[in-house]
């Protein structure tokens, strides 16, 4: 377990670097937020200077950074210029929406990709193998927002079985009491079956669109890793020892194949967060991705910085989790 500590410690400089970069990046981006904030023709130069002073923009860069760092330490992510809201509060509302979507899509993708990749590896060249390749190619060649639009067209516009792609819950539904922030889970916890069903229906299409995007790398890696492992000497030993087919495939082959697959899973999860930005737009999902786009357009620094920090933290966490899982599977990686 010293490995966990070591990895956590090495994450600190990375995180600090990200803080520095996000700070600097927003300072070199075009546009003076004070001018934007004061974009009112009646404001005089003196007024603008006052705003600058209020925002701390007149301080030397180093002092600005220290102030920024100090605020971060207190969980103060600043204030959105566009909404006037505290960014921390905004993120607290939006992060669970993005997380629920990403986790659902990831779970769906893994649940399909692992069995599909294993089945394809067990019978290369079979119909299952071809189906796996087809799905993987489709997922890889279509950007996820295109898949999203196609799904909306097919299931909402054409078949009419999906709800309107307008957020997490139809406007007339009451949100369940907030526990996890995941509407589906919260609805279940509150015992509100109708709300659960409604939230699940809203979640289905965006999650499917994102899952399709993730299917390609996951299926391909599972298949390749399984084929490589099934050809290994120790599988021959296991077969020669008369071990059951199940033991050979699950305990011997799949566990070994999971080492590279776990790495791919981590990378895919991180990519999915990026794909989130457009999917949230297409489905009017009130997540942090949609918020980030708006902030970028408005040159709204504080939410952008927060978005980058959150993404960096997620990347670091996912990497750490990947390493942990790998170490759990493979004793050689634990050292």
């Amino acid at each position: 377990m010293s490995m966990v500590l070591r990895r956590l410690l090495t994450a600190i400089p990375t995180l600090f670097g990200v803080v520095v970069v996000t700070f600097l990046l927003t300072r070199v981006l075009p546009g003076d937020p004070a001018v934007f904030f004061a974009s009112n023709p009646s404001m005089s130069a003196a007024d603008i200077a006052a705003v600058r002073e209020h925002l701390g923009l007149d301080l030397p860069l180093r002092d600005q950074f220290l102030v920024y760092l100090g605020n971060l330490m207190h969980g103060d992510l600043g204030r959105s210029v566009a909404t006037g809201q505290s960014v921390a509060a905004e993120f607290a509302r939006r992060l669970p929406a993005s997380a629920e979507l990403t986790v659902a899509a990831f779970a769906l993708a893994v649940a399909i990709a692992l069995p599909l990749g294993v089945a394809a590896a067990l019978r290369p060249g079979s119909p299952v193998d071809h189906a796996a390749r087809l799905i993987a190619t489709l997922g890889a060649s279509l950007p996820s927002f295109v898949t999203g639009l196609l799904l909306i067209f097919a299931f909402y516009v054409f078949a009419g079985i999906a709800p309107e792609p307008a957020g997490r819950l139809a406007p007339f539904m009451v949100e369940p009491e907030r526990v996890t922030g995941f509407l589906t889970l919260d609805a279940l916890l509150a015992g509100e079956r109708a709300t659960f069903a409604a939230a699940l229906r809203q979640l289905a299409l965006p999650a499917a669109a994102m899952a399709l995007f993730a299917l390609a790398p996951l299926t391909r890696m599972t298949r390749a890793a399984m084929i490589a492992t099934l050809g290994a000497d120790f599988i021959r030993t296991a077969r020669a020892a008369g071990l059951s087919r199940r033991t050979i495939i699950v305990t011997y082959a799949l566990r070994n194949a999971m080492v590279p697959v776990a790495t791919t899973m981590g990378m895919t999860f991180s990519y999915m967060l990026g794909a989130n930005v457009l999917i949230e737009r297409v489905f009017s999902w009130p997540g942090i991705g949609a918020f980030a786009i708006d902030s970028l357009i408005n040159l709204d620094y504080a939410p952008l910085q927060a978005f980058m920090l959150v993404m960096a933290a997620v990347f670091i966490t996912v990497n750490l989790a990947t390493d942990l899982v790998t170490a759990l599977i493979d004793p050689r990686a634990a050292r």
Partner: protein, 322 residues
């Protein structure tokens, strides 16, 4: 017929991109219970393919073209696949060269041995650990309780081979096939592994098929020797007979190329000429003919070349023996 294992006229082809490879042809070999048989031949002569055919672990590209394999008189090829799975590991076992690769890298060695015991003997759960430790103790692993928890990468090559042997012999099979079990180990470890296999086989009455390039090693270890060349068994006889009175020209060439046969371990020198290309459709009945100093017209006459009894317990596949 009292053979434990009887390979009868076995033929194996491999399907490849450019046609079939005729790897084994009309291979016959008997192994008696408790006997140690050396199977000797150059690289590519089909020793491993024969071993894998016996164990039923041939590559999917392999096709059995003829013959049969009997174990205690029962055909393995006709055996129901489910029973064959139970037969593997319980009645017959195999160890391979490169022992480290032969073990699952991410499973504790004790668990790997336990998998085999649990599969075939189904002992009650609380007894399994004791069985695993017994198996480790028998192959000379000190402190078995601790060693059972080791990962393969923590062990030396020689120790990994001991683990493989423990795994193979855990259910006390009647037959152990050792496919070049000492390749890649250092010389002292080689000797220790061979001595261990020999001792355990004698102790349990296990028959051993010891596959090796090393004629000197085989002569010192085995009761009988079978010489293979290009997918044929060309001569089998008790080890002393092979050494003192070999009949097949290939056996003679092998002996001549291993001058220091007096018990020392030494590498086989290549014989003049090469193994024929097994892809050829026009392989001669005697696959050694093209390298043979005693080749006569009769050697190339069509028709199968089988083993015949040259003397009691001495089988030979040669149309012009000296």
């Amino acid at each position: 017929m009292n053979a434990l294992l009887s390979v009868r006229g076995l033929g194996v082809d491999f399907e490849t991109g450019d046609g079939p490879v005729h790897v084994l042809e009309n291979v016959s070999l008997d192994i008696a219970p408790g006997e140690i048989t050396g199977i000797i031949g150059e690289s590519g002569s089909g020793k491993s393919v024969m071993a894998f055919a016996v164990m039923g672990i041939l590559d999917p590209a392999a096709r059995i073209t003829g013959g049969d394999i009997l174990f205690r008189g029962e055909s393995l090829l006709a055996m129901d696949p489910r029973r064959r799975d139970g037969w593997r590991g319980r009645e017959a076992a195999i160890i391979f060269q490169n022992p480290r690769a032969a073990l699952n890298p991410i499973r504790r060695v004790g668990d790997q041995i336990g998998d085999v015991i649990a599969r075939h003997d189904r002992p009650p759960a609380h007894a399994l650990r004791g069985r695993v430790e017994d198996a480790l103790r028998r192959v000379g692993i000190p402190d078995p309780a601790r060693r059972a928890r080791a990962w393969p990468f923590e062990l030396s090559g020689g120790q990994c081979q001991r683990i493989s042997i423990a795994m193979a012999l855990a259910c006390r099979p009647g037959l152990l096939i050792a496919d070049e079990p000492t390749t890649g180990l250092d010389v002292t470890t080689q000797a220790a592994i061979i001595a261990l296999i020999r001792a355990l086989a004698r102790e349990n009455g296990t028959a051993v098929a010891l596959i090796t390039h090393d004629l000197a090693l085989a002569a010192a270890t085995c009761d009988r020797l079978a010489i293979m060349h290009a997918g044929h068994v060309v001569e089998t006889a008790p080890a002393p007979t092979i050494l003192a009175a070999p009949r097949h020209p290939y056996t003679r060439a092998l002996l001549a190329s291993a001058p220091a046969l007096a018990g020392s371990i030494n590498e086989l020198q290549p014989i003049p000429g090469r193994l024929p290309d097994l892809r050829r459709a026009d392989l001669p009945p005697c696959r050694f003919a093209e390298r043979c100093p005693r080749r006569i017209a009769r050697c190339d006459a069509p028709g199968p070349l089988g083993l015949h009894e040259a003397a009691p317990r001495h089988l030979l596949a040669c149309r012009n023996p000296p």
